[in-house]
Symmetry: C2
Subunit: 490 residues, 2 copies
């Protein structure tokens, strides 16, 4: 049956009725039964398009051009007719795979279409159903204990605005009032204290929080992200570097936690003395660009206690981890924190950016956290479809099952190829494994592509797994088979 | 005829066939023949929705909730049934008014719908038609002499990324190479020079370039935008403060230009000595948030010469002025510059953000100007519809005609109410007039709303005009009539 569909797909003529039938009958999209590679990737048509694009837009990072009409479910189809199993999903931003019927339905609705086309300045003129939609979408999956949300557009602007909200909150607490002095109002217009106070946001080595000036100051993943760009003098601490398997390295890993937490506390004290007090700490639950570096629940619990002790806010950046791939909707739910984090930022799989918080983090005055669009109703409507499918199809269950299968396969591969692989780690399908060095990692990713697997690296030596939430054990098997072929060839 | 339509609209049952008929027959949307106000604004339904929204999202800046299904053309309809002539258009971001039939058609096309729903990471996996679409949309209206574009999402991230590109360009020129030293690669990871160099971007008092940390450092419009947020130590110069009418104040205004330009040059020298060289100058062609402050073509010509002399880039921020409202597609086309600016940023009416530039401003290495989404194909498709209509319906002509009518009406009002109004200024429909003080300005804007005109202020005392490109002389008449009523009541 699947091979028939595979052929049908290659001709790009899977019709709505067939899709509907499959959705109804087996909750599976009419995917091919496996990848098909017809050319070296990038193929000749991609190369032609890169030539076409280069004179008008940077095209140097393009992996291949995609036929999004033909891509389906977990499979991405390129312009040369290659059909790849996608476990990277547009840098972890595609929740339901390609052309999910529920997402294709959203704008068939006339009201939804008008909500998309008539894009409002949400901060001043939202549509009539905006409060109800916020409630039924973003608030329906709000991290426990966080009652409010502020909508944005992407991960960087979500973090930037969360940093601003944290600075405003910190100043309010420090001064004991939300009111401004004349001196503050005047000095901020000149970029000078006290109106523009010398506050800092503490981050971690290996962290990634975006690429605009504030966010980039807290990003420490790769030099190519940062070089030549001015930076604030803000502190950053070491992040634990664990040894795997975890159960055999308990003492080492606990010592790592302890060392890094002590460093955090030292830096907070040092920067307070320096006149640049730490208003907030930003941390990813898993450092997703920096190498899928994990830390223990105990690390995060203690980090929160340190933040509270020093009256700094704790911001958990769930831009890449949020939306289900770790097997819980938010990765920090795995940490059993004493109390909710002060801020949780999101984007990517959530379709639009933003941050969750409580009333204390909402500035007393309007127009302080503000921009023209403040999000996008069109994206919220897509999120609505995503969340409905996640709930209806129990996709978090599926993530946990597929993740368990994938992880045990990676551990087996590690055992079979100990000179090449190590340190399998992660939660749900949000997994990673290290190659012995950068060259080998890059070689594996490239060879996988040639065998029909679209994967990606992170950090210096990790291969990261970021399949869609509709990835199943069957897809894990397909991947593991190709992975083993590649490892044998090395 | 129009009054019939007005009644039809109030019932919200204008059908597609009627819209199509109107588009075909007279290039006008089935608008009402004027505003209708039924309640005090904000009305009871808006107040109810504000109550509903406040517990989950800041709602303190909401003017009213909108029925976007019923809004049409130049008219915005609120949830209480009030129908207002909109000359503010979502902070100047709506090019073709509400529910334009050409925009509603875009996602009826299956390929376009799939381009919207399957949102790619454009920097690595663009769709097959992305280069052709860039060419036929953004490049078809590229400022003369700028051959390339980098797509983004909003105004702030466009400016932030343009600042980064400018810093990279400046360092390349300073060092005579695009290569990195080991020391640069290592130091940037610690936010230290030479990898994170102490460069600056020079801006102007009264300027607005966004609200993320880098952009906000260059924003100097209102304290509420900036207070409590840390800032870079970057220089900012005075912007000319003109007297009107221009023809009667030539000497004063020329002296203003001269004074401000001298200040720019002084600051560049001062910051070079301070070890924070100016890599670029950012300026709006009209300071659009800071009060619709204009400067002469000669000011901009000389500013460009100063930038060149000091090897700094000139960035013209056309986020609010771009896309036609000044009667030319880009406002800086009015300036007759010696050569193209180095960078032009855009967003708002353009549906997505980005910046135009040349090869020299493109970093030699990939992944330096990069983020997950790098724009949005769904928004580019809407822009395609916008540009087609702008060309087909000669909307720049319409802007110039409607603008001339509106401006002469404002000048007449100034003459009739000299104690209240002064300093009518602007180009196309991108106009402003000052009230005698802030209180009066706010009073005028509020009373206008109650008379069916949705307008907005900027700076301390200006009323700004930001109608859609489909605003006509007829709409100008309607506005001027209500405006005169308000002025008489004051």
């Amino acid at each position: 049956m699947y091979s028939t569909l595979a052929r049908v797909r290659c001709n790009g003529i899977v019709g709505r009725s067939l899709i509907n039938q499959f959705s109804r009958n087996c909750c599976a999209l009419p995917e091919p039964n496996g990848p098909t590679v017809k050319t070296v990737i990038p193929g000749p048509k991609t190369k032609q398009l890169v030539q076409e694009m280069s004179p008008i837009h940077n095209a140097s990072t393009i992996q291949f051009f995609v036929d999004y009409d033909k891509s389906i479910g977990n499979y991405i189809v390129d312009v040369d007719g290659n059909c790849l199993l996608d476990i990277y999903t547009q840098i972890s931003s595609v929740p339901l795979g390609y052309n999910h019927p529920d997402m294709l339905q959203v704008f068939k609705d006339d009201h939804n279409l008008k909500s998309l086309v008539n894009r409002p300045a949400l901060g001043i003129l939202p549509g009539s159903d905006w409060p109800a939609k916020l409630q039924s979408t973003l608030m329906s999956v709000a991290p426990k204990g966080l009652d409010m949300v502020t909508t944005m557009m992407c991960g960087s602007c979500s973090n930037e605005n969360a940093y601003k909200a944290i600075c405003m909150w910190y100043q309010k607490n420090r001064k004991g009032t939300s009111d401004f002095t004349q001196e503050e109002m005047e000095s901020c217009m000149k970029n000078l204290p006290p109106g523009s106070p010398d506050l800092s946001i503490l981050s971690f080595q290996g962290g990634f929080h975006g690429r605009t000036f504030g966010a980039l100051t807290t990003t420490h993943s790769k030099y190519v992200h940062k070089i030549d760009v001015p930076s604030f003098d803000w502190p950053f601490a070491s992040f634990p570097v664990y040894k795997y398997p975890l159960e055999e390295n308990v003492a080492h890993n606990q010592a790592e936690d302890k060392k890094c937490l002590a460093e955090v506390e030292d830096l907070i004290e040092k920067y307070a003395k320096k006149g640049k007090p730490v208003a907030g700490i930003v941390v990813e639950p898993i450092q997703s660009e920096g190498g899928d570096n994990e830390a223990s629940p105990e690390f995060f619990q203690e980090l929160q206690r340190i933040a509270k002790r020093h009256k700094a806010a704790l911001l958990i950046d769930e831009v890449q981890t949020g939306g289900g791939p770790t097997g819980k909707f938010w990765c920090h739910e795995h940490f059993n924190l004493d109390s909710p984090p002060d801020v949780v930022t999101f984007s990517k799989k959530m379709q639009l950016g933003g941050y969750y918080h409580n009333l204390d983090l909402r500035p007393a005055q309007g127009y302080r956290i503000f921009n023209t669009w403040m999000g996008d109703p069109g994206k919220l409507l897509l999120l609505e479809a995503v969340l409905n499918v996640v709930k209806r199809d129990n996709l978090l269950d599926r993530v946990n099952k597929a993740g368990a299968k994938l992880k045990s396969g990676l551990l087996a591969a590690e055992k079979e190829f100990p000179a090449i692989l190590n340190s399998t780690r992660g939660r749900g399908t949000f997994l990673a494994v290290n190659a012995k060095d950068t060259k080998t990692r890059d070689e594996i990713v490239n060879r996988l592509r040639q065998k029909g697997i679209q994967s990606g690296g992170c950090g210096d030596i990790a291969i990261r797994f970021r399949p869609a939430l509709i990835f199943t054990e069957k897809h894990a098997d397909i991947f593991l088979d190709r992975f083993r072929q590649v490892l044998k060839e090395l």
